[in-house]
Every structure is written in structure tokens, then in C-alpha cells.
Amino acid sequence: MDHSQAVSAEPAPLAKKRTRIRANRQQGWAALLFLSPWLVGLVLLTLGPMAASLYLSLTDYSVLEAPSWLGLANYKELFVDDKLFLKSLQVTFTYVFVSVPLKLIFALAVALLLNKGMRGLGIYRTVYYIPSLLGGSIAIAMLWRKMLGGDGLVNQVLLKLGIHAPDWVANPKYAIYSIVMLSVWQFGSSMIIFLSGLKQISGDYYEASSVDGAGKIRQFVSITLPILTPVIFFNLVMQVITSFQSFTQAFVISNGTGGPLNSTLMYSLYLYKKGFAFFQMGYASAMAWVLLALIGLFTFLVFRSSRAWVHYEDGGR
């Protein structure tokens, strides 16, 4: 009864407030409804499993028997005793630190070549994207393995030129670079992001600078590159995060072994072998958390360094 008096005393604002509260409550329930699949997934397939995997990483667990508590022993073994783990780190770092820069340089170079109202841009962009479109498939990884094999396409071409080349995928010195090459080959999606970044740069800058007598190289260094740094930064972060997790190509090219001599034993491949070939699920969980920490660390470093080299036109707001 109280509020009917209140309504009569102060009709407009309170009634409005009340309908807003009702509308908000209705929206709250609706939000719960619409978010329910995601919420269930978040709890059952993401947060729950994360907690479980953190726990399992502190245990010895083989699926068949209940987990037995080890404390930090898995982590200690990883960094102190497991030579293969250190090898897989080395392989993964080689892969990430060679393939990511090469891929971005290539993507930027081709984007610059295609930019500036070149005729047939649409067709070229399509053609250059095809490797990115198909490259993740097992079919292309198998083709790569056959192509770089002892009597594969590459060596046949080299033979015509009078060069006797080794079996690239069976040679521990070169095998990882065949995977790097496969990754760089798929520069298309980074290139498309660069192209759309280049399109945003106003032509006025170039006109003004050429009036001032700046050459092409000077324009690239002082205009294009600084304006493009946020796009480079974005591509860099995305590529680093995905490259650390690369699996399929190394699996197919080494036929699941990580060989020859573990030279293609990428982190994910080693984790897969530990978890699903040897069923050391606790150990594999510890590896997963180390991977998360590594990716987090490198992403953080890239973000940290960005203050020094990424230039935002709006002053970094």
C-alpha cells in the first residue's frame, strides 16, 4: 500500500523506474536463457577441465588407475630429467622464431606489391590466399611430405639442374625447415590483413611527402611502416599464439614420430605422444600448463615491447 501512495505523490519518475527495473529483470532472465549453452560449456568444458588438468598435472595418472599425488615431480622431471622435452622446446622455438617472422615479411612484401590500385587485385588476392585455405588440411601436409621426399618433386627439379639433393624430410638437419616452409607458404591470411591495413592509409600522406621530396623508400620507412605497426602487432600476436600449438603438419610429415632423430618433435606432438600413446595423462597435463605459461610469457613480451614500436594514430587510447 505504501508504494501506491508514493506513486501518487511522485508519479512519473518512480513509475518509469519501476518499469525499468521490471525490464531489467526480464532482460536478466533472458540473458541467462541465451547464455545458458555457453555457460554450461564454460563450466563443463573449460573451467572445470582447467581445474582438473591443473590437479592432474600434480599426479601420476594413466586413466586405468586413480591418480596418485606427486606434487611438483612432473614439472621437475620436465625441466631437469626429460631430454626429449628440452628437445621439443628447441624444435618449437626454432619453428616459431623462424616461421613467424618469415611469414610476416613475406605477407607484407606481397601486400605492398599488390597494393595501390593494381589491376586484377581481387584475382591476385584470391590466388595468394589459396595456400592458407588449403594448407591446414592433411592432404597438403601429405603432399609436402611426398614432394620433399628423396625422389619427390623438389629433388626431381633439382636433378634436372644437376643437383643431387638429400631426402629433405628424412634428414634431421632439414626436416624442421620443411615444416617451416609449409607454414610460410600459408602467408595469405596475414597478407589480407595487411592489405586492409594499407587501404586505410590516406593518400594525402604520400602526396604531401613527395612534395617534400621524399623517395619511395623514405615513404615506406616514415609513413607506411609506422602506420602499419598496429596491424603488424596484431598479426604477430596471432601467429605466435597459433604457431606454438602447431601439430598436424609435424605429425603428418614425420608420420607421427617427430623424427628423424626427434628433429620435428614439436611441443604439441610430444604432448600428444605422452598423453595418448603412453597414457601419461598427468605428465601431459603438466606439459599443457607449461605450454600455457610459455604462450602467456611470449604474448606478454610482445605486448610489453609494443610500447616501444607500435604507433597508434590516436595516441594509443
Partner: protein, 280 residues
């Protein structure tokens, strides 16, 4: 136009075409080789088959390890269709809530959603496997499809949120005045207007599921349940050189759906990648 300028333009085209040709050579060579008789595949580096045969396709189609290749195609289609439907429905629902509805802890929930995009799947992999094992789902398609119905590909939530934010709010307000609740606004206004974002979601979910190797490898063990990537790998295992032909033929076949979708929906690819950094 001066001669020297015309000259540089021609040079640019020549360089662009040469790079493209070298890049695509392996793929074109594989297509050509799939029509060559087995003995010619290692001896010919040219693209055009000196002798055309269809036998690679017919022998690949009859399959491997007692299972016909169309079975793998059917399995892959089934998994991909289930994943696409799941992603489109569950991600658009969550996206609508994040973009349009007011609720408590929205900022926290949204931040959580963004963080899960960046999360490497390895940290949830093993407990998920144990969970699906306890549900008796191993060696079925459920572990590959069910997570999509729970919007675990948060990337697409983000994509659709960004799209919905670009739609005029006046439409929602007009519908509210006409007595529509959130469910009707979602179904009658947001969904029809979000079709471009939903098509992007469909395309990339399809491609990623079609190409996905890791989850299919760990969850499927019975050859009769194998998808295209797992089926193709069987050709690689029997690595005697006479099998190159059928392997290449079925590889080419496995790439056809991706290629067709790409050609038909090019616009969505370029926009999807350029606006949100979707990896291809």
C-alpha cells in the same frame, strides 16, 4: 602514361604472376598427378599428364582397409554439419545476450569469453577426454559435435557480437514498443539481420572441422568411423609408391569442398579475415 611507367606496371604483373605460379605449383602438380598412371608420377615434373587415366580415382574411391572412401566423406559431412549448426545457434545466442541485453556480471562474463578465445586447447584436452570417456562417447562423433552446441568456439561469439553492435538499436526499441520480448527480438530482428556474420561462422566452422585432425585422431579409432583426414592418412601409411596415385586423387577430392565454398563465398572470406583476423 609514359613508357617507363607502363614498363614497371608490366614488370609488377610479371613478378606477381610468377610468384603465384611457383606457390601454386605443388597443388597443381598434385591435381595433374592424380590423373597420371602410377609410374609417371615420379618421373614427370610437368603439370599436364602425358597419359590420362581415371584409375586413381576409381581405386581410391573403393577405399582402403575394407572401408569405401565415400564413407569417410559421409562421416566428415555429418560431423561438419553438426558442428556448423551447433556453432551458429549457440554462438549467436550468446552473442545476442552480450551485445544487447543488460545483466549482472556482464563485464566479467564478456572478459572471460575473450580470454577463452586465446586459451590453448591443451589445458582442457585431457580432462575433456576423460569426461567423454566416462560418458562412453569415445569412438563416436559426439565429442566432435557436442562442444560446438555449448559455444566453446568463443571466437565466433566475438565475431557475431561485433556484427550485432553495428546494427541500429532503434529496431530493437521499435520492436519492444510493439510488445516483442528478447526472444522475439533475437529471432525476428537480430538473426535475419546477422546473416552475413552467420555465413562467416558457417564457412569457417565447416573448414576448420573438415580439416581438423587432432580431435578426430584422438576420439575416433574404428576405421568405419573415420573422417576424411583420418581416411587419407591410411593411404600414407601404405606408402608403397604405387599408392601415390589414389592418395593424390582422394586428396584432391577432399580439397574440392573447401575450394568450392571459397570461390562461392569469397566476399565473406576477405571481410571475415580483414575485420576480425580470422586465420584461414
Amino acid at each position: 602514361m609514359t613508357d617507363s611507367l607502363r614498363g614497371t606496371i608490366w614488370l609488377k604483373h610479371a613478378v606477381t604472376i610468377s610468384i603465384a605460379f611457383i606457390m601454386l605449383y605443388p597443388v597443381l602438380w598434385m591435381v595433374g598427378s592424380s590423373f597420371k598412371p602410377g609410374y609417371m608420377i615420379f618421373s614427370e615434373i610437368g603439370l599436364w599428364p602425358g597419359q590420362w587415366v581415371w584409375s586413381n580415382y576409381s581405386s581410391g574411391w573403393t577405399g582402403i582397409q575394407g572401408q569405401p572412401f565415400p564413407l569417410f566423406l559421409g562421416n566428415s559431412l555429418l560431423v561438419s554439419a553438426g558442428a556448423v549448426l551447433g556453432n551458429v545457434i549457440s554462438c549467436s545466442m550468446a552473442a545476442y545476450a552480450f551485445a544487447r541485453l543488460r545483466f549482472r556480471f556482464k563485464a566479467v562474463a564478456f572478459a572471460l569469453m575473450l580470454v577463452t578465445i586465446m586459451l590453448p586447447h591443451h589445458v582442457t584436452l585431457i580432462p575433456q577426454y576423460i569426461l567423454f570417456n566416462q560418458l562412453n562417447w569415445i569412438n563416436s562423433f559426439l565429442p566432435l559435435i557436442a562442444p560446438k552446441w555449448l559455444a566453446t568456439d568463443a571466437f565466433f561469439i566475438f565475431l557475431i557480437v561485433q556484427f550485432i553492435r553495428g546494427l541500429p538499436r532503434e529496431l530493437d526499441e521499435a520492436a519492444t514498443i510493439d510488445g516483442c520480448g528478447p526472444v522475439q527480438i533475437y529471432w525476428r530482428i537480430i538473426i535475419p539481420l546477422s546473416v552475413p556474420a552467420l555465413i562467416t561462422t558457417t564457412i569457417f566452422t565447416f573448414l576448420w572441422t573438415w580439416d581438423d585432425f587432432f580431435s578426430q585422431l584422438i576420439y575416433l579409432s574404428d576405421v568405419a568411423k573415420f573422417t576424411v583426414p583420418l581416411g587419407l592418412r591410411l593411404f600414407l601409411d601404405s606408402s608403397s609408391q604405387s599408392d601415390w596415385g589414389p592418395m593424390f586423387a582422394m586428396s584432391v577430392l577432399s580439397l574440392v569442398p573447401c575450394f568450392v565454398i571459397f570461390i562461392v563465398c569469397q566476399k565473406y572470406f576477405v571481410e571475415g579475415i580483414a575485420t576480425s583476423g580470422l586465420k584461414g
